[in-house]
């Protein structure tokens, strides 16, 4: 079960994934593959199912149908304990950082080590301070509460928390949303650095094209619950897909009609 997957097995393979909320179809038979060590960015407008896709892959949400394989191991239909075992391969950076308000910054970063891996608190604190240093934050920040930090610092702490358990796969949910362009670029650089250092597979979801171009090896666009285009980052400007063209240039006119009313 824990045997190392062959190198040609995709790290993440999603086939025919479906997910609906009531009558609203969010994922409509979505197919996606991410190779080991690859950095894939999924782009798409708000409400197109990017976050739902990420939550289904990491196991926070159950799909209504289809298949999700991690290292060739099927996740759909598995028991909670088996899914929890595979979820240990993941780290996730949440859109709003999702830091625990009740804990100091260092304990947020060390949380996965202390609670998930039973590392003694002293050793976990040292590891946390090392990871904070990796994202450019000094040890004094470790003693602060998350509410005392700016949005950019919170994102950095969340990144340190995601990498502290040295995951094989990291999911970044809108890593630069709500940040000024300079801080967004700092976060992009940190993502590239951390993913390279860990040799991890990365899947990012964003609608920030500057960020997507910088951190992606490959970009995939999601529209109406399906991947409508995917290819190397360098090819996105010559995709030949009208939806992609409209999205990357941010035009109101085109095949994508914005939904102005919730379902």
């Amino acid at each position: 079960m824990n045997a190392k997957a062959p190198s040609d097995t995709p790290k993440i393979a999603v086939r025919g994934l479906k997910k609906s909320f009531g009558r609203k179809v969010v994922l409509d038979g979505l197919d996606l593959e991410i190779g080991a060590g690859e950095s894939l960015v999924v782009i798409g407008g708000s409400g197109t199912g990017k976050s739902v896709l990420a939550k289904c892959i990491i196991g926070l949400m159950q799909g209504d149908g289809g298949s999700i394989k991690i290292d060739g191991e099927e996740m759909v239909g598995r028991s909670t304990s088996e899914r929890e075992r595979v979820m240990r391969k993941f780290g996730m950076l949440f859109q709003g950082a999702a830091l625990f308000d009740s804990l100091p910054v260092w304990e947020n970063v060390a949380f996965g080590l202390i609670q998930g891996r039973n590392v003694p608190r002293d050793a976990a604190k040292q590891a946390a301070l090392k990871n904070l240093a990796q994202v450019g934050l000094g040890p004094e920040v470790g003693e602060l509460r998350p509410s005392e930090l700016s949005g950019g610092m919170q994102k950095r702490v969340a990144l340190a928390r995601a990498i502290c358990v040295e995951p094989e796969i990291i999911i970044f949910d809108e890593p630069t949303t709500g940040l000024d362009p300079i801080m967004a670029d700092v976060i992009n650089d940190l993502i590239i650095k951390c993913v390279r250092q860990l040799g991890a597979t990365a899947m990012s979801i964003t609608h920030d094209m500057v960020s997507a171009r910088k951190i992606a090896d490959r970009i995939a666009m999601i529209y109406k619950g399906k991947i409508i285009w995917s290819g190397p980052t360098a090819e996105i400007d010559h995709s030949g897909n009208a939806h992609v063209e409209q999205f990357i240039h941010g035009r109101a006119e085109g095949p994508i009609q914005m939904e102005v009313r919730a379902h």
Binding site: M87, R88, F90, F94, A98, F100, G112, G116, R161
Partner: protein, 261 residues
């Protein structure tokens, strides 16, 4: 208006009610099963015991004091009309230990702790902190729900035991200083008619109420959605449902613990 629409809306309300009861029952069963399976977060249990028990002591103590005082006054004014003033200490101690200590204490704690738990977990839910726990290999049920429910169940009887003493003391103060009872005779009357079962049955009620308060706070907080408005609604539901369940279960437990014996 189409009468079938009216029937359909009644049916929808009924089905929604059944589905909510089912979800709540599953949540309760899941909580109970996680209570007996490791890992156990003793540090968190201790912190919750302090939050629920120690910090609720002032409000529950004050409520118990005034309840005992008012009870002594009311009983005296009622009983004096047929020369039964000597029953005041007995009525005060039995009412406080069997009924008022657990129920009024629990209603105060429902307002203070049920709301706090629902607001905290609700905020954690809408800011993805509960999902973050899962991604960090930590079961949110074990980490968030179990310590609060266990702490509520353990702390509430301790709190009510102290409230019982303060409530009886309140009655004693009014009896001795305002109603001119002989203090020694008042205490003697209090002790003469009080049985161990009166106190233990009140503490059993308190444990059940503590469980219900924490469970409702956790259930509505854990399942809240829709931002700040959703958290506000979760807080309201937690307090209202815990209060109603306390009164309902009080009747059921009284029937089992006192009438049936």
């Amino acid at each position: 208006m189409n009468p079938f629409h009216f029937l359909a809306s009644i049916g929808a309300v009924f089905l929604n009610g059944l589905s909510a009861a089912g979800r709540m029952a599953l949540f309760t069963l899941s909580t109970l099963s996680h209570c007996v399976r490791p890992p156990f977060y003793l540090r968190l249990l201790g912190r919750q015991m302090i939050d629920i028990g120690y910090y609720s002591l002032p409000v529950v103590g004050l409520t118990a004091l005034f309840t005992g005082m008012v009870l002594a006054l009311q009983t005296y004014t009622g009983f004096s009309s047929f020369a039964a003033e000597s029953s005041v200490p007995t009525v005060v101690v039995l009412s406080v230990t069997r009924e008022l200590g657990p129920v009024i204490g629990a209603l105060m704690v429902a307002g203070r702790i049920g709301a706090a738990i629902a607001a905290e977990l609700g905020t954690m839910r809408v800011t993805d902190q509960i999902d973050a726990l899962t991604t960090l290999s930590t079961n949110p049920f074990k980490y968030l729900v179990v310590p609060r429910v266990l702490a509520g169940t353990i702390a509430m009887p301790i709190l009510v035991f102290i409230a019982d003493i303060i409530g009886v003391f309140g009655g004693f103060l009014v009896g001795s200083y305002k109603l001119r009872f002989n203090p020694a005779a008042y205490l003697q009357h209090t002790a003469d008619f009080l049985q161990t079962n009166d106190v233990t049955a009140g503490l059993v009620k308190a444990a059940v109420f503590g469980f219900v308060i924490a469970l409702m706070g956790c259930y509505f907080g854990y399942n809240s959605k829709g931002g700040a408005q959703g958290v506000g609604a979760a807080t309201t539901y937690a307090v209202v449902s815990a209060s109603i369940l306390i009164l309902l279960l009080d009747y059921v437990l009284t029937a089992i613990l006192f009438v049936g014996r």
